[in-house]
Subunit: 199 residues, 2 copies
């Protein structure tokens, strides 16, 4: 059977390309980054990039496919929790973990923008986002049962809104100023029951 001579080397090269691409895309944007730059930063030739990936958009998508396992782990960690309210805060903090890294901020913006332009990317991101959204929605529902989350909230809508708030934290990234405390306050107060306002 035909097979790659050295799968490990193959994977290493592939990851070198993805690492370089991720950094460059975050700093310069998708269109602002050339395949030649990626190849150069990864220490391979321009032609090799097209051996590993079909085209430039495929490189961008692959960068985000790496995020999927991370998100799954984050949700799985809190599956059997007794404290859904605290679990939500922890998941949100995990999602926003590197929100104070300006390059992560650039990547998020670039991602949001390209979703509308690359249908296949939409599928990749939707898959990763769905894991988080369903996990959060489940935690919100359990928080409502436990009486620690406002029963007027719709779990699915709330999960989506929480994702948006996390994105906002990335947008507000400034060197030397972590948005995490404000994020935590925002989410905790949003969820709590027993306020006078109505949605």
């Amino acid at each position: 059977m035909a097979r790659t001579v050295d799968p490990a080397l193959h994977a290493r090269r592939r990851e070198a390309i993805l690492g370089a691409a991720g950094r460059l895309f975050a700093e310069q944007g998708f269109e602002g980054t050339t395949v030649a730059q990626i190849a150069s930063a990864a220490g391979v030739s321009s032609g090799s990039v097209f051996y590993y990936f079909d085209d430039k958009p495929a490189v961008f998508r692959a960068v985000f496919e790496q995020a999927l396992p991370h998100n799954e782990a984050l949700i799985a960690r809190h599956q059997g929790t007794e404290e859904p309210f605290a679990a939500i805060l922890d998941v949100v903090a995990g999602l926003a973990a590197d929100a104070d890294d300006p390059s992560a901020s650039g990547m998020v913006v670039e991602l949001l923008r390209r979703i509308g332009h690359d249908e296949q990317l939409g599928v990749v991101v939707e898959r990763a986002s769905q894991v988080v959204r369903e996990g959060l929605a489940g935690l919100v529902a359990r928080g409502i049962e436990a009486g620690t989350v406002d029963p007027e909230l719709d779990p699915a809508d709330t999960a989506t809104w929480l994702e948006n708030i996390v994105d906002a934290a990335y947008l507000g990234a400034r060197p030397g100023h972590s948005p995490l405390p404000a994020l935590r306050r925002t989410v905790a107060r949003y969820l709590e029951p027993g306020r006078t306002e109505r949605v």
Copy 2:
């Protein structure tokens, strides 16, 4: 003295170009939009666009210079208010007014991304944003004095965070689902004094 033959016509043409450009940039992004498309949509030739604007980035910047007066009016409206808390909610709602328009959402993302790439754009946006931020910070400070806003909040930081939350509302734009109620709840609860959590 040399002067434009018909200033009114000149302005009309300029605005036709800006209108077309705004729509196309929002839908297709900056790089995804060609000057030829803008010209065609505005009913002029490609060459004419370069008569009205120095280059393509200048067209993009001009689209946002239009936002400055709108923001100023929004802040000015609440200058002498007796109810700073309500005023903040109103300003935020005004900023997010067209957050449920998907094309506005695309434009915000595109804007955030291009700020890092076009220094002059950064200046334009910073000017518009500063008006809002200072206005909001003033209202937060007055709310603290009035006892309706949590005194533990820093007015300047809070104003910045509120701007980020508004951006989140744009990101969450989905047809048939306005993010405004969630935004209102988020902001109101974030500001209120007398919770157990600490920032």
